[in-house]
């Protein structure tokens, strides 16, 4: 498996997108074939991967590996179908998605640009990005501690329910290390997902 730094952009891609232009883009760019195998990646992709997962990420998800191996659960099937359709119909697939870390909140935009007969060029660009809020523990407890003195965290997505029951929020601090008085529950979205998936399979 290669990190991609020494691999040239495949000719079919280079015929549409000048490689020098792609290499210098701030957006992360990955060329994949019709089956999702990574053929090439730019420097921004490698920098993002190293910053968020270390060099091991580039070994596991470098050139020659499957792009889809980095996607788990139902999202994997979703993107496989979306990319298959984009390639088959030669239509651009676009989507905004959250890609936050404990330190940074991010909204990214994905564009899958079809290259007929060769694959897709995937572009991930930043819509917005800012440091995660770091409220004091007491402020978090005031918002999330229920009347029984416990924090309810979804056991699937790990969002935390507000004491008002109105919302489930992503609380980065408690993803890494849950509150000492945490009861694990199920948020509304994961409840619907769990039951919907099971109902379809029975």
């Amino acid at each position: 498996m290669s990190s991609g730094s020494e691999v040239s952009l495949p000719p079919a891609f280079a015929a549409r997108f000048p490689e020098r232009t792609l290499r210098d883009q701030r957006a992360t760019l990955v060329a994949i074939d019709a089956h999702g195998t990574i053929l090439w990646a730019n420097a921004a992709w490698r920098a993002f991967a190293e910053a968020n997962g270390g060099r091991d990420v580039l070994v596991r998800f470098g050139v020659g590996s499957s792009y889809f191996d980095g996607i788990s659960g139902p999202l994997r099937t979703f993107y496989q179908q979306a990319f298959h359709t984009a390639f088959a119909l030669s239509e651009v697939f676009e989507q905004e998605y959250e890609c936050s870390s404990p330190e940074e909140a991010r909204l990214l935009r994905l564009r899958a640009l079809p290259v007929p007969g060769a694959g897709l060029l995937l572009e991930h660009s930043t819509v917005w990005q800012h440091a995660q809020d770091r409220p004091e523990e007491a402020a978090l407890e005031a918002r999330y501690l229920g009347p029984n003195g416990m924090v309810v965290q979804c056991s699937y997505c790990r969002r935390v329910r507000r004491a008002s029951h109105a919302h489930w929020d992503w609380v980065p601090r408690w993803v890494r290390e849950p509150h000492t008085l945490t009861s694990h529950g199920l948020c509304d979205v994961c409840l619907a997902l769990t039951l919907g998936r099971r109902a379809r399979s029975t």
Partner: protein, 110 residues
């Protein structure tokens, strides 16, 4: 004759999910939001299986299984939890981590 299950969890969505998942498999189930209410239900209902959360206010799921077994020793007890299994949990109490492996749970109950 299929087992009749009492589900105990302080989270309403989890109770709803577990009950629905069991009923999709043809397994009858009732639900309770607390351990104390569960002990009352166990006295009055004929249940084969107690399926309970671990971390709950006032009485944990493990304390509930101990109290329930004192009155009904043959009761099959399963605990579902996001916490790791404590060393004090008896071997004959099955422990299922959250997120739940639904197939594994159904295989044990059915």
């Amino acid at each position: 004759m299929r087992a009749k299950v009492l589900i105990v969890d302080d989270d309403a969505n989890t109770r709803h999910a577990l009950r629905t998942l069991l009923e999709l498999e043809g397994i009858a189930a009732d639900t309770c939001p607390s351990s104390l209410e569960a002990l009352h239900r166990l006295e009055t209902g004929a249940y084969d299986v107690l399926l309970t959360d671990f971390v709950m206010p006032r009485m944990t799921g493990l304390e509930l299984t101990e109290a329930a077994r004192a009155a009904q020793p043959e009761l099959r007890c399963y605990i579902i939890s996001g916490q790791s299994r404590p060393p004090t949990c008896p071997d004959d109490v099955a422990w299922f981590p959250k997120p739940l492996d639904v197939d594994a749970l159904l295989a044990r109950i059915a």
